[in-house]
């Protein structure tokens, strides 16, 4: 039985890896499509039906471009940079519960790659490492614009990680567990955390934008001032890996937001649906499969939101960014923790007498 589970885990991890790569690939397509639609254009529509093969064409182009390494660049670190960015981005989707349990025969299969009891801390730690890819790449390019981009990336990520962590603590106070699986299980039906944590969600959302270097916080790669920031000197697939890592990060952050605040794979009336089946196993499996679809729908909604915001808002100025992070979001997050703590105390006072 153990070997069955082991093989299953291997296949599942591969599948998750493949899915996140696929979603990242097609995020580039949808980014361009959404940008075009918002600007009253039609977007890429030449490669394949509706331009659906555009990501392949882009990848092909990137692979065949010249691989340029600046003469005075630190070669090892220059190559290491995009590698770290990509590795870290691909690692982080391991602890996200994409679905509940599937029961086949006697065995039950959890739709989560590794269920560690520190799941959210794992994601947090891995995401915080992502900045090394940008910093090392930017520094190794031996280019002032790249260096500025790297420095901006570093200070921005550190600043917003604080507010992100603090807004997370309020959720953890409600759930009492660091495991994403437990957090997801607690939000059955329509009992999502967003109803209890609207302020925390807002803070987390803004920090998520900053952590993934997306507009309006894409100062590390602002093309107008820094010619692309940390990836100014990169070309070919190394550039592609940086861009790819950004899209995987968006996918992961969307999945985390869906799990923490929007009930992961839970959807309204799921218990009614489960009980509608006579066979409990069948009911469970049907609910799980619909749940996976719901989870991905939520993730796609968030990815769409990320792109929607990108093509709506202009970029922040750097001092505004820092002021927002330190002077507004962190105090708000602390206030949110206090409010949540007070709320929990009041609830316990009234329910337990």
């Amino acid at each position: 039985m153990d070997s069955v589970l082991l093989i299953y885990k291997g296949i599942y991890i591969l599948a998750i890896f493949g899915i996140s790569l696929l979603i990242a690939t097609y995020s580039t397509y949808f980014e361009r499509k959404i940008a075009a639609f918002i600007q009253d254009r039609v977007g890429p529509n030449r490669a394949g039906p509706m331009g659906l093969l555009q990501p392949l064409a882009d990848a092909g182009k990137l692979f065949f471009k010249e691989e340029f390494i600046p003469a005075k660049a630190n070669k090892t670190l220059f190559i290491l940079g995009p590698g770290i960015a990509m590795l870290v981005a691909a690692m982080s989707s391991a602890v996200i519960p994409f679905g509940d349990t599937l029961i086949i025969g006697e065995t039950s299969f959890d739709l989560i790659a590794i269920d560690v009891n520190i799941g959210i801390l794992y994601i947090f730690g891995v995401v915080s490492l992502g900045v090394y890819g940008l910093m090392i790449g930017g520094w190794a390019s031996n280019n002032k614009f790249s260096l500025l981009g790297a420095i901006r990336a570093a200070s921005q990520n550190i600043s917003y990680e604080l507010a992100m962590g603090l807004s997370l603590i309020a959720v953890l106070m409600l759930s009492g567990s660091l495991s994403l699986k437990v957090i997801a299980e607690q939000q059955t039906g329509f009992n999502w955390n967003i109803w209890y944590q609207p302020l925390g969600f807002l803070i987390f959302l803004i920090c998520a934008f900053a952590e993934t270097n997306r507009t309006p916080f894409d100062l590390p790669e602002s093309e107008a001032e820094l010619i692309g920031g940390y990836h100014t000197e990169y070309s070919s697939m190394k550039l592609g890996m940086y861009l790819f890592a950004e899209y995987i990060n968006i996918f992961v952050v969307s999945a985390v937001m869906a799990t923490l605040y929007f009930g992961a794979y839970n959807f309204p009336f799921m218990e009614n649906l489960r009980n509608a089946f006579d066979d409990p196993v069948l009911g469970n499996n049907v609910v799980t499969i619909i749940g996976v679809g719901v989870m991905f729908a939520k993730i796609f909604a968030f990815i769409f939101f990320f792109m929607w915001v990108r093509w709506t808002l202009p970029r922040f100025r750097y001092d505004q960014l820092m002021k927002l992070g330190w002077n507004i979001l962190i105090p708000l997050a602390i206030l949110n923790i206090l409010l949540t703590g007070g709320g929990i105390l009041l609830y316990e006072y009234f329910t337990k007498g």
Partner: protein
């Protein structure tokens, strides 16, 4: 600024509303090679050298078009019609070469107005397309003269 203005969130929501409205709007794009923009009836496109009802070239190489041309895009050399070529050229004098430089041409249509023989016209359904080489923009008689209606004679 009031508090709600300083929070920026209402303004951001408003902006998001505007962009999502545009998201579902009808697109302004015209997919060019497949569909073309509707042109005006007096659209001045690519030049054509007309033939008369018998299939003979109308142009008599008088050079009035070249004189009228503000961009000096038209050059031609005249030649005398030999015996037996009456079915090819209407007048006794004809254009041996007739070149329009499409890079210079501003498609003003003055040549069309200057022509006494009603030989040159700017078509309303054809454009001078983009090409890779500059040479290819110099249109000679091979590309300017109206093709014959029948396919028997070349």
């Amino acid at each position: 600024m009031t508090l709600s203005e300083r929070m920026y969130l209402p303004a951001i929501a408003q902006g998001l509303g505007i962009t999502i409205k545009h998201f579902f709007k009808k697109k302004a794009t015209i997919n060019y090679p497949e569909e073309t923009r509707q042109r005006s009836e007096i659209w001045r496109g690519l030049h054509v050298l007309k033939r008369d009802e018998n299939g003979a070239e109308r142009c008599t190489a008088c050079g009035l078009c070249a004189v009228a041309c503000p961009a000096e895009a038209i050059t031609m050399t005249a030649g005398e019609r030999k015996k037996g070529e009456e079915h090819l050229y209407r007048e006794e004098k004809y254009a041996v070469t007739y070149e329009v430089n499409m890079l210079r041409c501003i498609f003003c249509g003055l040549c069309e107005e200057a022509c006494p023989k009603a030989a040159i016209f700017l078509q309303d359904d054809k454009l001078a397309p983009a090409r890779y080489e500059r040479d290819e923009f110099i249109y000679g008689k091979d590309r300017l003269v109206e093709p014959l209606k029948t396919t028997e004679t070349k």
